[in-house]
């Protein structure tokens, strides 16, 4: 007993004050990319050619956050002159088109569906479906339950059954072998329901695009309400998305 108490005191209180206070992530963290339009077309073309995800459109000078895995190759190649990654982890968008960006993202709060806030603003129960990703997205969704993030204090929980859920959170590029199970889980969720796509794989097929075994984007199968980019998205990116999209400010 004494040992248990000693540990309790040593551990202290660890829960973050976010979103009331801001959190600064380390310098090497790669958040929202900024494209510098003044960079030469040659440099832009070079970055586009080097991008492993073919996420950069050199002509329009935009980057596709759905494809981007935030590896930072373009930033290193251009030494930040064409692309630089900021520490801003607030990346989620409500429309797929918004993922194509030169750096600015529309305010998520303003694009949230109003009736969702009314329905789910005080209580949101989500069923997670892992569909052929690498388990990093799942891991960084799971940590939302740990004391630092403590998702439950916002009235948001991951639940065991789609029957108990207000929506599904999908990770991974939806393999052929997982498609039926995913669609059945969606069907089993009572309407009105939300669909949240988390991570580059669910947004575009991610690192696995081009494989005949996967679906290149969850929106080809289901109507997606919320897109959360990243490989994987930082837990704070997920937390920001859920709070901003569903909670009333």
């Amino acid at each position: 007993m004494l040992n248990t108490l000693k540990n309790r005191f040593e551990q202290g209180c660890r829960t973050s004050a976010y979103p009331k206070t801001t959190i600064e992530l380390p310098a090497r963290y790669r958040g929202r990319p900024q494209i510098h339009a003044e960079a030469s077309s040659d440099l832009a073309a070079e970055c586009a050619a080097t991008c492993p995800q073919e996420a950069i459109d050199a002509e329009r000078k935009i980057i596709d956050l759905g494809r981007c895995v935030f590896c930072g190759t373009c930033e290193r190649l251009s030494e930040g002159r064409f692309v630089s990654f900021s520490q801003d982890f607030e990346l989620a968008v409500a429309e797929k088109d918004y993922l194509l960006t030169a750096g600015e993202l529309p305010s998520l709060a303003e694009h949230a569906k109003k009736h969702f806030k009314k329905l789910f603003g005080r209580s949101l129960q989500l069923r997670q479906v892992s569909a052929a990703g690498c388990n990093a997205c799942e891991a960084d969704l799971n940590v939302l339950a740990t004391p630092f993030f403590d998702l439950a204090r916002f009235g948001i929980n991951f639940v065991a059954s789609p029957r108990h859920a207000d929506g599904i959170v999908v990770t991974g590029p939806v393999s052929r072998n997982m498609k039926t199970a995913l669609l059945q889980t969606y069907e089993a969720t009572p309407a009105p329901k939300v669909v949240i796509a988390v991570g580059s794989c669910a947004l575009s097929g991610g690192p696995f695009r081009g494989s005949s075994e996967i679906t290149e984007g969850l929106d080809r199968l289901l109507p997606v309400d919320l897109y959360i980019p990243g490989c994987p998205p930082h837990p704070l990116t997920n937390l920001h998305a859920l709070l901003t999209y569903f909670k009333s400010s």
Binding site: T4, Q11, R28, F70, C134, A139, S175, C201, E213, P232
Partner: protein, 502 residues
């Protein structure tokens, strides 16, 4: 018996003309001989070579041994005489339509059509959404009942199907069928641009991103003759050890949660995050993605980085130690851990268990000691083995390894690390060659095998996650165990679905 297998090094470039090309019967009898005498299977796979298909085996004793042969369309299975080949033969049947006659349990591994367009060995129709009509192993009797779980599970975890045959609460047999996470990763490597390779390697299993990218990178470094400086090897070692600590700490917490002892569950959840954040500090990604590239690393460890990381690890070390002590000193935890889900040493040997799962069943094998890469030649990795093979042993091995890894990182951070960071560059792989790489990731032996054709293009890319060996360990642990102890046993292994499914 002398065999024709040749000895190769971990991460050594070998020209393909050096691979002993044996007659099938010799290949079979020699491979069986080596494994029957204590050798282990690292790889056994088929690959296309012009119009033919070859088999290749990489076995390990104190050395890595290699030989191949032309693949027959059907052959007397090796498994029927020697268990450790069982899953490899099923994989070959699935990937290339080659039938191992007399295999005791020939069923699909990942549910996909074979590469040669041959009729499916298992009779599945892959144009259907649900291709299989597989009859699961069924125990019969009045009191027997079955429990089917998955592919969608209750938690935030990967998909897989578990079929329990029980009598009352007691599990007689657990059958695990995976394949839901199959993305075709090995095939993607064949056609992928070189620039995509690191991203693909990091996506094989996100919780083992460093382990898998090290294997890929070392294979490329071997075949493209790229040198890596000593500093980069130290940083990659730190990356791999941080990955080990984060995963082990997280699982110790989850184990504690599964026996309803909540303080360590919460503390470990938080501390795991602190270790992931150290990876984030080093390379900008909590899972170490973006750190390892052919030729070295993309980020340095400056003196300031060393100071910050040392400070964090100094703060965390006593906390980890105290929580671990609390966990193992609590009688309610001990009573649930001890004697639960026992896998004997002899079963573990036959199943080919690796990593902490093997060490918990008394098999001390650790790639870091047996076939060291990176900076491990210079480190003294203690021998961790527990004899009991139960949940307690699997938890204890992992708790011990956490503290060892913390000490390793502390000592590596204590002196300046100089490295020349690498950019993503193009490289040319040696033609008609192969390299086999092994690393001890947190789940155990990860191994990749890269073969090139006459133009230096990738002819075949083979990936083996330790979970490929260890899933059957979990099934074995459940025999004669209460079904309510499944979560506990599952967490004590915490195997990868995507690393298995590829």
């Amino acid at each position: 018996m002398n065999t024709d297998f040749i000895q190769i090094g971990n991460g050594e470039a070998v020209t393909r003309d050096r691979i002993p090309h044996l007659a099938f019967d010799d290949f079979r009898s020699q491979a069986l001989h080596i494994v029957a005498n204590g050798g282990k299977v690292v790889h056994f796979f088929a690959y296309p070579d012009e119009d033919e298909v070859n088999l290749l085996a990489v076995l390990r004793t104190d050395h890595l041994l290699l030989a191949g042969c032309r693949a027959p369309e059907a052959y007397p299975s090796l498994t029927s005489e020697c268990e450790p080949f069982h899953l490899f033969e099923r994989e070959i049947a699935e990937q290339f339509g080659i039938r191992p006659e007399g295999h005791p349990w020939l069923k699909m591994v990942r549910y996909h059509a074979n590469e040669r367009g041959l009729p499916d060995v298992f009779g599945n129709d892959y144009s259907q959404d649900i291709p299989g009509n597989y009859d699961y192993y069924a125990v019969e009797g009045d009191e027997i009942h079955e429990v089917a779980v998955g592919p969608v599970h209750a938690g935030v975890i990967e998909p897989g199907h578990f079929r329990f045959n029980c009598i009352g609460e007691r599990v007689l047999h657990l059958e695990i069928q995976l394949g839901y996470q199959h993305r075709g990763v090995e095939k993607l490597f064949l056609n992928a641009d070189i620039k995509r390779m690191p991203i693909l390697a990091e996506g094989i299993a996100g919780d083992t991103a460093v382990g898998h990218s090290l294997c890929m990178t070392q294979a490329v470094e071997a075949l493209a003759a790229i040198d890596t400086d000593a500093g980069a090897r130290i940083i990659r070692t730190i990356g791999l050890e941080l990955e080990r600590i984060a995963n082990h700490v997280g699982d110790l917490g989850a184990l504690s949660g599964d026996v309803a002892f909540l303080p360590p569950a919460n503390y470990c959840g938080r501390m795991r995050g602190d270790f992931l954040n150290m990876s984030l500090w080093i390379c900008g990604n909590r899972f170490g993605k973006g750190l390892v590239r052919p030729g070295g690393v993309r980020f340095p460890l400056t003196d300031e980085d060393r100071r910050v990381l040392t400070e964090r690890i100094t703060e965390l070390k006593p906390q980890v130690k105290h929580v671990s002590d609390l966990l193992f000193a609590t009688s309610s935890v001990r009573s649930r851990f001890e004697g639960c889900g026992v896998v004997s040493t002899s079963d573990a040997e036959k199943l080919g268990l690796v990593g902490p799962a093997g060490r918990a069943s008394g098999i001390p094998y650790d790639v870091r000691r047996n076939f060291p890469t990176e900076h491990y030649h210079r480190l003294d990795i203690p021998q961790n083995a527990e004899p009991t093979g139960d949940v307690y042993a699997r938890a204890k091995v992992r708790a011990d390894e956490v503290l060892q890894s913390i000490s390793i990182i502390e000592s590596l951070l204590s002196s300046p690390i100089e490295t020349r960071c690498v950019e993503d560059t193009s490289y040319k792989l040696a033609p008609s060659s192969l390299a086999v790489t092994l690393n001890e990731a947190w789940r155990g032996e990860v191994s990749h095998c890269l073969l090139t054709d006459a133009d230096g293009k990738i002819l075949h890319y083979k990936i083996k996650d330790p979970s490929f060996h260890n899933w059957n360990g979990l099934a074995m642990a459940l025999r004669d165990t209460g079904i309510s102890d499944f979560p506990l046993n599952n967490k004590s292994y915490n195997l990868s679905y995507c690393g298995f499914d590829l």
